[in-house]
Symmetry: C2
Subunit: 401 residues, 2 copies
């Protein structure tokens, strides 16, 4: 098949015009907004133009279906409240271009999807979560955004497009091209990343309760200062994790809330988030044990009452071997000696879709490693290289046993 | 002179009835509230009953004046939003009892004051700040409380009581009895603390600006995590200060604000408070240098842009030698081998009054070291011991050269 880079880039820029922020290439196209619905209507027409049959489920997940059994490709076209032009959009438009080129070449059959609310206005990857059965529509409908609007009300904006449920049985697998959203490829100068795993996540609130006191009258040796406990926990944890982690493992204290949070008062309480990610379930569990043990020891040393909140857990997802091999074959042709395998540190729709079928993912570089901001960008040569790898992989799959 | 413990305690409990919280002995009597004004009217009547001439300045500072030149004693009768029954009230009622007993004994002349807004509904020790000339009435009038009410409007609630300015020239010095509000006396089992200095305070906001990033896609070695910088700064500072401080020195990070403060985002910015207190101006300056140097080194190590906010500075105040000697003489008689000298880690009205005249302070224990809470309390035997020390000191001053 023959990819058309001009047509692909033109469509990508047209999609950017829906909700264009007017700041760089940024977009404001949250799920179910006017801009999102208009973009989906335009996408549906482009799918029809490509000979695909348009179907939309109750969530607003938009499918362009090839005849018979097909490989599904795509991502999402909703954006962050202040988002970039490529996050999700690249995966949708590249899938459209590959489906179009494949149809022009007489095969293989490729279908396209744009999932809804990947960016989590109402939850986490809500559209693909419902399609994959991880969340029921009834559960999703009662989720609210930060202004209190329920998803069940918000999705009325796409009601006119809805055709009904879309069966996953017609698909042979799912492939998602996405910007990396991190600095690894940009730093190394490589053009393509073939994803090995989407990492698992553990996320837990930890609370130290000490003793709120006057910051003038309470001698240092009598204090039970909750901030000091957090700081000591952090330092001890950084030391202890070094023996367990790989260079791909990450851990973060991104949220800290002190009480009463005043300069003249020794903090009596600290609530903070502890999040860690790795592609290996066993390592995630070893890290959890170290986190719990360290918090317990520091809490005990510093006279704190310690409590752990409920733990959010998302399991790592390994990419399908056959699909990944096809992507690696494409990368070797399009970007010889200039690609790598790597885990995805971010969640994607592919995490949900993996409940239904084999999945694989491909990355292109993010300039400066930034995403979820108007500044997000990727060199157009890298974008086109990504589409070409997808096309090669689709052809390669045909030749595989 | 002859102190009357029953009369003293009865008055202290009556004052507690104005704004009684209904929780333990707690009171809710913020400056200019109905409870505060009613308490000042009752206090004014008790002053008249004791033969004192009542004068009230525009701020609502309430004086009960003895004839001729006199020693001024007192504290404040406003409370924290959720305050204890003794913070301020003890100093006012003990002064009233000593003035009353002195008048009954035919001398020496003792006047009484209850300052307004020591607890800082509108600022910091606002009433005595205006009386001492540290703040003009015009400056004070535009201060607002956290609901937006201006002091200039709030003080209309005491307008009916105002008689005019009260000259400081008539006073030979100022003595303030206060609860310790810390754990030192309660821990040691001592009954009396004679204050040597009110410590100086330095308070400064520090900001680390790093790089906000995705907590999944940003490898640890490429992060510029502002929380990690705060934690490393705190650990390094604790180590470095140990060579400089005394057991009375305190330092506190009581306020920390991360941005954007979300569990999935590497914090790009941290703003935090750094406060330190000591009775020695030179030591405060040495600590400042260590704080600035440490923040600079850690910031540089961790790729942070560092900025310091303006520094709030309140100088240490040494207690007057003559007044302090008189209090020590009283302590030796009333609590032999059971008192100590100590700095005051908290600010008091005496800090402001020291701009006008010699000052000294006396402490009695706080049970559990707690204050600014409904649980604040002191054994009645300790309260009475405090008043007796004051009475002895007043007599002792008469005999001093």
């Amino acid at each position: 098949m023959q990819i058309n880079p001009e047509r692909f880039l033109a469509d990508l820029h047209t999609l950017r015009s829906f909700g264009a922020a007017g700041v760089g290439k940024g977009v404001v196209r949250p799920a179910y907004s006017d801009a999102d619905v208009a973009a989906r209507q335009w996408l549906a027409q482009r799918m029809r133009d490509a000979g695909l049959q348009v179907q939309v489920d109750a969530m607003g997940n938009l499918f362009g279906l090839a005849d018979g059994r097909s490989l599904l490709m795509g991502s999402h076209s909703d954006s962050q409240p202040e988002g970039g032009w490529l996050d999700g959009a690249l995966g949708v438009i590249s899938a459209l271009e590959v489906a179009r080129a494949a149809a022009e070449a007489g095969g293989p059959a490729v279908s396209v999807v744009s999932f809804q609310d990947e960016e989590g206005r109402f939850g986490v990857t809500t559209g693909s979560a419902v399609w994959s059965g991880h969340l029921t529509l009834a559960q999703a409908d009662v989720l609210t955004d930060h202004t209190g609007i329920a998803l069940g009300d918000a999705r009325q904006s796409v009601a006119v497009m809805v055709t009904g449920d879309v069966s996953p049985d017609q698909f042979t697998g799912f492939v998602e091209l996405h910007i990396e959203q991190g600095p690894t490829l940009d730093e190394s100068g490589e053009q393509i990343g073939v994803v090995t795993d989407i990492v698992g996540i553990r996320d837990m609130k930890i609370t130290f309760d000490g003793q709120q006191n006057h910051a003038g009258t309470t001698p240092m040796h009598l204090r039970r200062d909750a901030f000091q406990a957090v700081s000591a926990f952090n330092a001890a944890l950084n030391n202890r994790l070094r023996n367990v982690v790989t260079p791909q493992t990450v851990w973060t204290i991104g949220h800290v809330s002190l009480h009463p949070n005043a300069s003249s008062i020794v903090p009596g309480r600290a609530v903070f988030s502890m999040q860690w990610r790795d592609a290996d379930t066993d390592r995630l569990a070893r890290m959890e044990q170290i986190i719990r043990d360290t918090a317990s020891e520091i809490g005990s040393d510093q006279g704190m009452t310690l409590s752990f909140g409920p733990m959010l857990g998302l399991e790592p997802v390994a990419m399908n071997e056959r699909l990944r091999t096809a992507l690696e074959a494409g990368a070797s042709v399009i970007a010889p000696e200039n690609w790598r395998t790597m885990p995805s540190g971010a969640l994607h729709d592919a995490t949900n879709v993996s409940r239904l079928m084999s999945v694989a993912m491909l990355f292109v570089p993010s300039i400066g490693g930034v995403s979820h901001t108007f500044e997000e960008d990727t060199a157009e040569g890298d974008l086109v290289a990504g589409v070409r790898v997808l096309a090669h992989a689709v052809n390669h799959l045909e030749s595989m046993p």
